[in-house]
Symmetry: D2
Subunit: 345 residues, 4 copies
């Protein structure tokens, strides 16, 4: 059993990592850290796991974590990971970082969206952890920047089509909708029950930080500059993310071409499910699982391709993909520990 640790285990992404890793057949969860709850048993913070997770949360001491774990997950707010990742990497402890700190190879882009980066020299070694797309690079990475939830939902349906040259790249629009867990466990009026319940709204319209992340990856895959129009919305539910993408296909591209392209890219992938013609994804169908369901419709009338993806923002959008990346880094089956049967409702 490979020993792994979680730094920042009591936020929602951290707790979801605890859930998945506790049931993983090839790893042993050996250390959990939490600033806020150091000293408390994990099961006191999340009584759902009473009797199942025996660990007590510790204060973060990097050496102590390195002694106990061969690979660590960082589930911290951005700006913190960059201060500790060098220490982990310096000790040859592999890292999957769920924040934005190591998603960008170019520090200038990171800094234009976030803040100054204090571990710039590590950015070259960091691999963007979109598992299905960067499998090979992840396999040999010591440091993975785990993708944001929105980028995961936008990039998976788009990348095969971008690479095939099927899209008018200046027409890309992504309208995303996310459950509230994406905002995390920190208290905020915007996550206060009565402000969210029976409410639906957009936020950070065309100004969300994930926009840069998507633009960088799309540009890399397209081998030209791509700029996406991106608007996120908040759904009054806990888990789930649906993205509706609008794009003009290049002349002559037919629905069949789209289907063939996506099938070729993903038919061997265990977590991408392409909906049959006439069917569309539903967040309920991926709740609690690592699946990304993808459907599409080519609107002949207006010549627009509508791509729709659904993920669980905490699983494929965070902890699940992080474990998938760990599996790849460890050279074990990428689906290991991630294949529990989904709930019918």
């Amino acid at each position: 059993m490979i020993r792994v640790g979680i730094v920042g285990a009591t936020g929602y992404a951290g707790a979801e990592l605890v859930r998945i890793l506790s049931g993983h057949p090839q790893v042993a969860l050996s250390v959990l850290t939490s600033r806020q709850f150091a000293g408390a048993k994990f099961e006191e913070i999340y009584p759902a796991m009473a009797g199942r997770v025996k660990l007590t949360c510790e204060k973060l001491v990097v050496e102590a974590v390195c002694d106990k774990a061969e690979l660590v997950f960082l589930a911290l707010p951005h700006q913190l990971p960059m201060t500790i990742v060098p220490e982990f990497v310096g000790r040859n402890v592999r890292v999957v970082d769920l924040s934005a700190d190591f998603r960008f190879n170019d520090p200038a882009v990171y800094e234009s969206v976030y803040q100054p980066h204090s571990a710039r020299d590590l950015l070259d070694r960091a691999v963007y952890g979109l598992s299905e797309v960067y499998f090979e690079a992840i396999r040999s990475a010591i440091l993975v920047g785990n993708p944001g939830c929105y980028p995961t939902s936008v990039l998976l349906p788009l990348i095969p089509l971008v690479k095939a040259g099927f899209l008018e790249l200046n027409t890309l629009i992504a309208d995303s909708k996310s459950g509230v867990s994406g905002a995390g466990r920190s208290l905020a009026l915007t996550s206060h029950f009565c402000e969210v319940n029976e409410s639906f709204k957009a936020y950070k319209v065309a100004s969300h930080r994930h926009n840069a992340e998507m633009d960088v990856i799309l540009s890399r895959e397209a081998e030209q500059a791509v700029q996406l129009t991106f608007v996120p919305h908040l759904i009054p539910m806990s888990r789930g993310m649906l993205t509706t993408i609008y794009v003009t296909p290049i002349k002559g591209v037919q629905a069949e071409d789209i289907r063939n392209c996506l099938t070729a890219a993903y038919s061997d992938q265990p977590f991408i499910r392409l909906c049959a013609s006439g069917r569309v994804p539903d967040t309920l169908h991926v709740k609690g699982s690592n699946y990304c369901d993808i459907g599409f419709k080519l609107d002949k009338r207006t010549n627009r391709l509508i791509l729709i993806s659904a993920i669980d923002n905490l699983v494929k959008g965070a902890a699940g993909q992080a474990v998938q990346n760990m599996n790849i880094m460890l050279g074990i089956d990428q689906a290991s520990g991630l294949l529990q049967v989904p709930y019918p409702l």
Copy 2:
């Protein structure tokens, strides 16, 4: 007091009409009909109104309704109104029809989307009841085709900008999200609690019947053929509709131009509220009210205008706008009966 009736009073739109009209200071609700609940007191069907609505539901007999009402609302599935509207109009009883049957002047368009129309000759006399836009025509109408909920949310923000010539009309995309009450009170798996709760999905992708309604009105206002890409989604909540519109402005149009145009169109309108810069609409802010809140952002980076509107699908999207149209037809204040103070949550 003007006597008014509701045909189809026990569906959600009908019940919402009952609510609004029961509190209206200038009309008296004199007759309610219901196929399914004929003979039952309305308050037994909707106990929320116990002690407030005394009427008993009747079977529909057109003459009987005409004897009791000077104006009737029809809250029936489409295809039924066309069979009875001629009788009402023939007796000089004014009609506000909430179905699609009298929203199109051109029977060919209606028939291409719905089914054969059996009252084609009345279509010319029917006025499309988008209150703020067709105020003058509604004022003298004997028959109003009340707009669909989606068209209301799409057309109100767009029409002033279309008329101003500010938009590249071939770039129009509307991504709409609706609460479940829009699907009505008829039993269906798609409205079954556990299928909807904690679920978010698109439906009728680029194939919703409201698309034709929007195209016709946009084309009329643009004085050229306009085709909208339209995708509706279902939100796990009861009331509320949010529409996010993406469109490329013509060269040179600035955010200030957009704001000035919308302000000029709507500043005197009691039910249109333009959000301050940096603010966006939220369905929670219009729940239970006849307001349409509108916000926008001009994304300079991708040169796209993002317009967002929020309405309560049962009020401004159905019963509220129907009463507003009645007010206009009766020559009374268009806001009469519609100005109760909104709920903070």
Copy 3:
């Protein structure tokens, strides 16, 4: 128009007072105070009321409020009102206090549950504002302690039966369920969306402060010591409270006696609705209204009377009853401003 003010206008109870009083035909809302949002327009805090409420929130200065208002509502956390109520009363400004500070005449009881009381000498002059029961005393009060939400839902169905001597008083159990708005707008993990959504739980089991309030009033009405077993629960929804009461009736009491007793007590009351036999209350039927719906079932098999009440915790459980009390104090119709037609859903 009588000028009234709200101290603590931006919490949920305060905002609900703003809503109701803004639409009240006989009063003018003249001043709003808020510690947290002093200087901000009320409509910026609650955009639902954009265009409807013009007031700006002020810092609390008692004299300034007294200059502007003949009656004030205090919607503050307990312990604060006792420090300012003496000043208002000293200036002959009438007060409806929504906190617990003036619900008890006996300071010892208050202090055993809350903390030391700094305005003990005013307790004798404070009237417990259960409108239907203490109408006469409220009418001449200068200071009303508005009841808690749970006590309102428990006491209204019980008091007539207690007074009639129909109940074995040592068998009283109340199992209450409340929507989340009862916990207010202050941030807390227990009101954080993902902790509440799809969750149902009890809290403060047999240790809620409202227990003492109920015991005092029940004892007063029974003219003997009564102790209620009380367990509150949290429902994953915004508004609404349902209480299920279990009690053994004294020998010989029939269902008809129960009905007659409740009917006699409440048939003239505008806000109490007794459900027909076989029907039970539903929080959805009272949402947004000042109604208290009451139903009951006498279980012959186990000889237990089951009483069920439903209220909107923010209306009859807080702001609505407060306005009802104001109406009574001002000598106007107790239902004034409180009779908007309820929503069907």
Copy 4:
């Protein structure tokens, strides 16, 4: 691998059986039947399981099922199982029936609550499948009547205390609250989204059929006639059941005695978790799992014991307990296939 079948696989309990059994390490799901969806792939009915469940739904033909399965689950409305169970049992195919048809040994009781029983002679051989309590009898049963969801939540906390003689048996009251999935997938206005959402209500007050089931079992364990007052309520959420029990303990019983009794009964049981003192169960903590969490408080003031249990109504309240019973019948670990790590939210 033992081959098992599900008759009635497309209702919610059936689908939950499919989920659990598809991931069970010792059984192979070999046949699914569905009246409504015969001929359709299961994954078309529940797209959540796309790629995971390959079976196609068949029409029920008992011999065909018997050829394919050594044990069958019946997830049908009551009254149907009694017509087919004799055939299964006659062919030595073991049965776990999730309906009420085989929960009663005394046909007279069944018939007083449901309808005439056509397989009365099998009732003696049927074992009531409350796994923790009737483990030994289940082990050798050919036919198990799986408990109702409400009885499971009521009986598990009560039985050890009843057997210990700790309770005044004529004071038992259970106030239960259930998520909507308990009402199944059949269309009904009472499960229609807008009728349930933001609503909380009681139903079948002191007249629910599960009452008889609980009375029979409690009487058996108490060795005297016991009658419970029982009121179920509906929570606006999909999964979860919380029961609050009120009972007077006999003189001298202390909180410590209660805790010791429950600990002794359940400390070796994998699915019963006793909350630490001061903690209470939350349906969110058992969602999707087979756990029954139990907490309690002894209210010294009123001398009442308050017991609270939480289960997932579809798992421990239906499909999970059914699989637990299957495990026991097959002589394998009772927790097999049922121990996936719970979700933190």
